[in-house]
Symmetry: C2
Subunit: 672 residues, 2 copies
């Protein structure tokens, strides 16, 4: 009798367990909590999930038979696995299946490592007017003459001392109210949400109130833990969006939902679990808070530990797909005509409804959606940058896995999303990877010698100041790819059409003998941890061209709709925006022409807006106004969209960028 | 090595399982789902939990050692267990502990059987104005010109067609909204709670809306399943309050909470589980509903099955202890000065917060509390009987395990609760039991021969029309005890002081040779299923006297406070009230004098009021007004309370009842 499950062991993590026969190795890895890169969503088109079938002996388990235990070799695997690799036991994890006990080695390149997320909060001038406010009250103890119940007694005191009327109380708070009043000897601190509902009562002076502004990106999640009284950012927490394992972009996540009956719930639960682990992190840390001593007195530092029940408010911003998946709303209609979400309006949801492990009575404010894939994150960007309050015409480009654009001023705002594709996040690039340790993030190429220098995430010195063996790079992330692209162009290695020029003298240039694909070596094998040259190929260049053309076209079409030829300023938002050299982005024609001093990187503006909504309740009303008044534009339906996109493929788009390139672009390029 | 658990088997149910050593047998029975009577809450004062340790062989388990496996004999057990019974292996289940494998026989008398709950709804004239209303709408499908989201589209239609504004939507409804709109091809039926929140959307014409009015008594729970559109009562469901196993009255439940850290949660969860099993019953049944055909057309009968999601509203009424335990609020302060509840005001709680398995978006309306133990059930009684709308002075006595009294008219209402004690429910009475099959519910005693006739629940003929062996009675329930008491008095067997008179000629009268306690045999051993005579003892008579005196004293003190000598009508509510012969209750002086035609039994008025609140939202506002305006009176703190109580012990209280006894009380008694 053959058993219907098999033991699978993953190395180097050592995770093991029994899984049903017949499932793919990527699926087995998910079930056992091992993250294998599968950015294409198991569509067998990215080749990232390459793993190696091993032999070995573990406890009472001898695993000798290999091939027969992982299902037969499938046509298509040879596209990503060389004959030598095949010989060594490499398979594609999304194709090979569990047919018997297996020992599997996950090469570093296939491990979904922890990304370096640097979404530090910008200092913002926010009026502190939180949704939850605290009130200290002293109650008259009950007596036979005045025997009113605990809740009524508390309400009477709040009305008398603060004028609060018709309050509700959350059931979880009511459950402990009696004991709290007694512990505090009738002196308590009461937290009230929107002057409507009592969400927390603490004996005595209380232990403060905190809130979380959570920016849910397709790839990364950032959470700002804020003191709701001072507005101070106490901590910044971040993680990969755990849904990445179901697909790298919004479209592959939606596909995962469409193909799996429980896909939506799984993705939502994984994200909520992830958010809870961020919250756990915050609760396990000690924070030093400054409290003013009197009006002009010196500040006192106080070391505190935050309790889950002290987290009393949350604001969440994400694109519409992240919004819908988190709330388990059907995301399918977002991507098809007429691109309608289940809901535009902001939502107030109880923490316990979503399963967030904070105070169960707390509300979660979910920022409203604009349309298509443009969601609360873009509302956040607008809240933070305030184009709707200004005369000047701003163009704001939020480059994440999904690109979101907004242009206009106080008279009119237009938004759209553009399929930048995952190239700028490192996917669909031969040696692309996310911005994780080991990724090349900065590149320069000497225009004369065509020698390369680069910087790797996690290593301080540039390549030219370090030993080659110390670099241990394993791929290129978004900003590195953009740098490389611009530098290749500036050095004349590729021409305006993006093609490798015919005149190459560097030994870094090559042509693959079999596929005939041209490439340029950025890092030699000895500088890597993957033991082969890291190159940028002609195909990679095409991917980046497509991404930049799509952003550029979006901007131009929106400007056409708005009736302007030029914008007063360009703001580049998003984590990618913070890493990218805006000047080089302009060089390759990623966005329309603008005075170079007015091109600024604004960091994680979506997260900033989310924080603004957390700390100032009036901005929540404004958020709904924005979502309702920004005009959505579906680029792919615009006249001439395809033609414009073709046009924009070329680099640089000198008609716009020309004036500012003096000193950046060598003369011999400009004059070519 | 001795294992730390032991196997326990209960017979005749056959339930078995391993339990930790050291716990009591009653506790073991709870864990294994076997209900043993323990009305005193394991205080070792009621003797109801008498069980027998057996020997036997079960599967691989030989249970031979008995005594040593149930812990040593404890002093106090002999109070309830005779030497003969001790010889046979009887023990008190709350004293004997599990010290090894045990086989336990639960005698019929100790089995917590299913009570017969007859709480049929009265026909009531209710204005149908439910909290949840349904609206049929047809939406314009979205297009590129009109791409608004699903929720906004639905709201626009509801505003245009019905003027509903600023609606919220429950997250669970939003989750299925998109698919529902498509299934219904943009024609849907929308259920809106209080014109504020969308709680259900169904494709097409919808499948109706139903609600549950739930009356949670200390001993019994009744639920009325109502059609929210017609107001029709579709079904009446009832059960024992599952909390009975933790103690028979409110005080022993509160003790259970105080003595067990998880006691409150266990009692609440057990009740919610019980309510869910009632709901399951309703969902498994088929109902025939009459639907009118046009305005004057004939009614059409339609057979339907209700889905959980169609149950869209719930109203709950209970005394404050039941209210607090259900909601897991600390019930301790209810019984001590100044008797303040955690909350008076009515509450709207989401079904999913309480774990009720109906539509998760539905709200539960919990009726408000008055004070002390007088809760939403009394508010329900007032809603149903409307003393606050009348000139005449009503006295309403709701006799359950806890007695609740209200007296007054539109000018002033006073309420109080009186510790009737569990005697009227059959506890603390030697052969007392709940109103379950086998209980004597009606008794007559011939004043000349002192011969007894009785009726048993579950048997149609009275004793005198049946074979003795067919009666198989096993105890006396509340109405039987009251009947017996009045008949003993009317027959001259007991005198005005409640003492057995000195002149006894019947062989039914006896004196226990050891304890010297006087008794009167109601049923001979051959008429029982417990193989011994069922008697009413001098102590039993004292218990009933105390209960009736406590009700009488309460009524009199309230009337004194109100400044009246006489009331215009007396209404006896509660299941007990429906069974009791009001005339005999007046005979023994249970309530103050009143014209006999104006003494009426009003059935389950609390349940009726609960149904009124379910079907008419305006009555919910009125409920809060009532709770806020009825004056609570704590009887035990009143001047002369003890003296009045002592006075009222005597029977009959001729000063009041005298006039009406002609024809009921034999001459020779009146003239004594």
């Amino acid at each position: 009798m053959k058993s219907k499950t098999a033991m699978v062991i993953f190395q180097p993590s050592g995770r093991r367990g029994r899984v049903p026969l017949g499932i793919s190795i990527v699926e087995a890895s998910r079930r056992l909590g091992v993250d294998i890169e599968a950015p294409c969503g198991e569509k067998q088109v990215c080749g990232k999930c390459k793993i190696r079938i091993e032999q070995g002996s573990f406890q009472k388990l001898n695993i000798e038979s290999t091939y027969s235990h992982a299902g037969p070799w499938q046509s298509g695997e040879e596209k990503y696995i060389s004959p030598e690799e095949k010989e060594k036991g490499y398979r594609m994890g999304c194709v090979a299946t569990v047919e018997g006990d297996l020992l599997i080695f996950v090469p570093e390149a296939a491990r979904a490592g922890k990304q370096v997320v640097s979404k530090a909060p910008r200092p913002l001038d926010i009026t502190i007017n939180p949704a939850v406010k605290q009130y200290a009250v002293e109650l008259v103890p009950p007596s036979l003459e005045d025997p009113a119940g605990d809740f009524e007694r508390l309400c009477a005191a709040l009305e008398k001392q603060y004028g609060l009327k018709s309050l509700r109380i959350d059931l979880s708070v009511l459950r402990t109210l009696h004991d709290t009043l007694h512990t505090g000897e009738w002196k308590v601190t009461v937290m009230v949400w929107m002057d409507q509902e009592i969400v927390h009562v603490q004996p005595g002076p209380g232990s403060g109130m905190f809130g979380l502004a959570i920016d849910i990106g397709t790839t990364t999640v950032a959470a700002y833990l804020c003191d709701l009284i001072s507005g101070q950012v106490v901590d910044t927490l971040s993680m990969m969006n755990p849904q990445v394992k179901y697909g790298e972009d919004v479209v592959s996540r939606i596909s995962f939902h469409m193909e799996n009956p429980d896909g939506l719930k799984r993705m939502s639960t994984d994200l909520v679990d992830g958010l809870n682990s961020l919250i756990d992190q915050a609760l396990s840390r000690e924070y030093t808070l400054s409290t003013p001593n009197g009006i002009d007195g010196p500040q006192t530092d106080q070391v505190i530990r935050i309790q889950a029940e002290d987290i009393l408010d949350v604001s969440i911003a994400g694109n519409t797909a992240m919004h819908h998946i988190l709330l388990q709303l059907n995301p399918e209609p977002l991507g098809v005509i007429p691109f309608t979400p289940s809901v535009h309006h902001s939502l107030d949801i109880k923490a316990h409804e979503l399963g967030l492990k904070i105070n169960p009575a707390a509300h979660i404010f979910v920022l409203p959606n604009e349309a298509g894939f443009v969601g609360g994150d873009n509302v956040g960007v607008i809240l933070a940058e305030e184009p709707h309050h200004q005369d000047q015409i701003q163009l704001i480009i939020d480059i994440g896995t999904n690109g979101e654009l907004v242009v206009g001023n106080k008279d009119r705002l237009i938004c759209s999303s553009c399929a930048t594709g995952p190239a700028l996040e490192g996917a669909q690039i031969e040696f692309g990877m996310r911005a994780a340790p080991g990724a090349i993030e900065r590149v320069t190429i000497d225009p004369e010698t065509h020698e390369v220098d680069f910087k790797v995430i996690g290593k301080d010195p540039w390549r030219s100041y370090a030993n080659p063996e110390d670099m241990k790079t394993k791929g290129i992330c978004g900003s590195g790819i953009l740098d490389a692209m611009a530098q290749l162009f500036l050095a004349g290695i590729i021409d305006k059409s993006g093609a490798f020029s015919k005149h190459q003298f560097s030994n870094r240039f090559g042509i693959h003998p079999e596929t005939d694909i041209k490439f340029f070596v950025l890092a030699w094998a000895k500088e890597t941890s993957i033991e082969k040259d890291i190159v940028i190929t002609q195909q990679d260049v095409r991917q980046i061209q497509l991404a930049k053309a799509s952003i550029y076209t979006g901007c131009k079409l929106m400007m056409r709709k708005l009736g302007v030829d030029r914008v007063d300023s360009v703001k580049v938002a998003g984590a990618f925006g913070s890493h990218v050299d805006c000047k080089l982005a302009l060089v390759i024609g990623m966005f329309p022409d603008c005075a170079i001093d007015n091109i600024v990187s604004v960091g994680n503006a979506a997260g900033d807006g989310c924080r603004i909504a957390l700390l100032n309740r009036d901005k929540r009303v404004e958020a709904d106004w924005i979502a309702n008044n920004v005009q959505y534009m579906e680029l792919t339906l615009e006249e001439n969209f395809q033609w414009q996109l073709m046009e924009a493929i070329h680099l640089p788009h000198m008609t716009d960028a020309f004036d500012h390139l003096a000193g950046v672009v060598p003369e011999h390029i400009l004059n070519k």
